[in-house]
Symmetry: C2
Subunit: 272 residues, 2 copies
DNA sequence: CCCTGTGAATAGCTTCACAGCC
DNA sequence: GGCTGTGAAGCTATTCACAGGG
């Protein structure tokens, strides 16, 4: 099993384009596509930025990495920019992808229209459950895991999506990589170990919720005029605040909370 | 309809904890939970970092924002740290959430175990399709959109998940916000406009794939010794390279590609 | 005068490297 | 000796603000 390196220099700007910019290009593309469908011929950085949910300075800076595709005093030609961004992202070609793990999520992904419309083609659905084999999901018959290597090489697939349970993910990942996959989108809540040269991006649904909870908690705290402080939803009924903390390790009592006003220890059972 | 501001100072460190750190806390928590289940009592920053897929310096720095919860020469007490991070994230309480849009994705989310295990409780499933009403998904009966406001206030819900088609998302969002929701996890491929004070996080499945495609394209280019260059999967069969670009706007021919060796214009139909 | 493109300034994040404590 | 906690350095990203072309 691979010993996990994933960490490229973080901004390995693959030719001068910062990662942060790359991550926003799909956003711009989506906004531009919408404009294009409405036959809008040109758009200013201000308009496009607001449609994409970023600010215009950032957008202009981002575009400046791609080249000078705008016209001063006018704005950007929508169609032209759609093409340039698509090309930059590699979407002017067709990417076959396989989805491994056809549970609820895998099925949702197979049905997701956003793939097909962006140059991605679901080449195969793969699952370990033999009883699923042959059954069509989103019009595509599910194939058994045994076929994995063959499917990948026959279809020249280089992008794999893992939607299996966490326990199976690393094993699936290893097989995908061995079969020639070099980019993986991982929905399983695990850290995948992959050899150098293989890209992994992860989407973890519960992580996003946890981040929201963090901010939500803060809001609740502010409402009450205190620091953190915890409290459920709309404060309607007191939720099951979890049990008190594990005892600190013998020595860690030397703890020193960053800010006063919250000694950050016991949950101080929440107010009504 | 709200005029969309979302943009907090980007690192509005809600009490000194940087956003980047907050975003990693769930990762640490997951790794720690796994260790806890294996009854591992303590862990070093090195071990934990590798389990979480980050480097140890970053992890230590992250923890230093929470306080000094480790023991020099020893490491961190697993249980204690689980508790501290949970508390920091607001997971020592129970967060009721509603999921709106019970299609494939909504159903997948409703079934997703990662929620329940992290202090989130699916309080209700909501869909606009009357024929779904009453049908149980993941053991929870789907309710009609008409009930949305009532459900939210009755359950004191402050976190909503939008898994509707893009077209319905803003409207649903507005209703959620009007009903008192202050945190939204958006799976619809749209930019949502929300008033000040409401948090939105988005998960866009196709964006992640597009980012992978970008890097994949680069790899393919490097293989061939050239800059970008495009090419499908394993180069097995030549995929449908999309049609040539839209004509540049009269003036934008003044384009100036950042780097030589790729004048970035025509798709130069890919090599075999 | 409008709007792009971009140096310069600022803010934020990561990594280094080592002091301090166990 | 081992490992945490953290200033300081280095790097990336964002924002500002304005030069410059249409």
């Amino acid at each position: 099993m691979a010993t996990g390196r994933n960490h490229r220099p973080a901004t390995s700007r693959s030719r001068g384009i910062p990662e942060a910019t790359v991550a926003r290009l799909p956003l711009y593309l989506r906004a531009l596509t919408a404009l294009s469908e409405r036959s809008v011929p040109t758009v200013s950085s201000e308009e496009l930025a607001s449609a994409a949910g970023v600010n215009s300075a950032k957008l202009r800076k981002d575009f400046s990495y791609l080249g000078s595709y705008g016209t001063r005093g006018v704005g950007y030609d929508v169609e032209y920019l759609v093409y340039q961004i698509s090309r930059e992202l590699g979407l002017t070609q067709d990417w076959p992808v396989v989805i491994v793990g056809i549970g609820n999520l895998g099925a949702a992904l197979a049905n997701y229209g956003g793939f097909a419309s962006r140059g991605f083609r679901v080449a195969a659905l793969i699952d370990a459950d033999p009883s699923l084999a042959g059954k069509p999901v989103a019009g595509i018959p599910v194939q058994h895991t045994d076929e994995l290597e063959k499917i990948i090489s026959d279809n020249g697939v280089s992008i794999g999506v893992i939607a299996t349970p966490a326990g199976a993910a690393q094993q699936v990942c290893d097989r995908l990589v061995a079969a020639g996959i070099t980019s993986i989108l991982n929905f399983a809540p695990t850290v995948l170990s992959v050899p150098e040269g293989v890209d992994v991006r992860k989407v973890d649904l519960s992580i996003e919720l946890q981040i929201l909870a963090f901010h939500e908690q803060r809001k609740a705290g502010e409402d009450l005029g205190g620091p953190p402080g915890r409290r459920p939803g709309e404060g309607v009924h007191p939720e099951t605040d979890t049990a008190p903390p594990a005892a600190p390790p013998a020595a860690a009592v030397t703890k020193r909370p960053p800010e006063p006003g919250n000694d950050g220890d016991l949950p101080a059972v929440m107010p009504a």
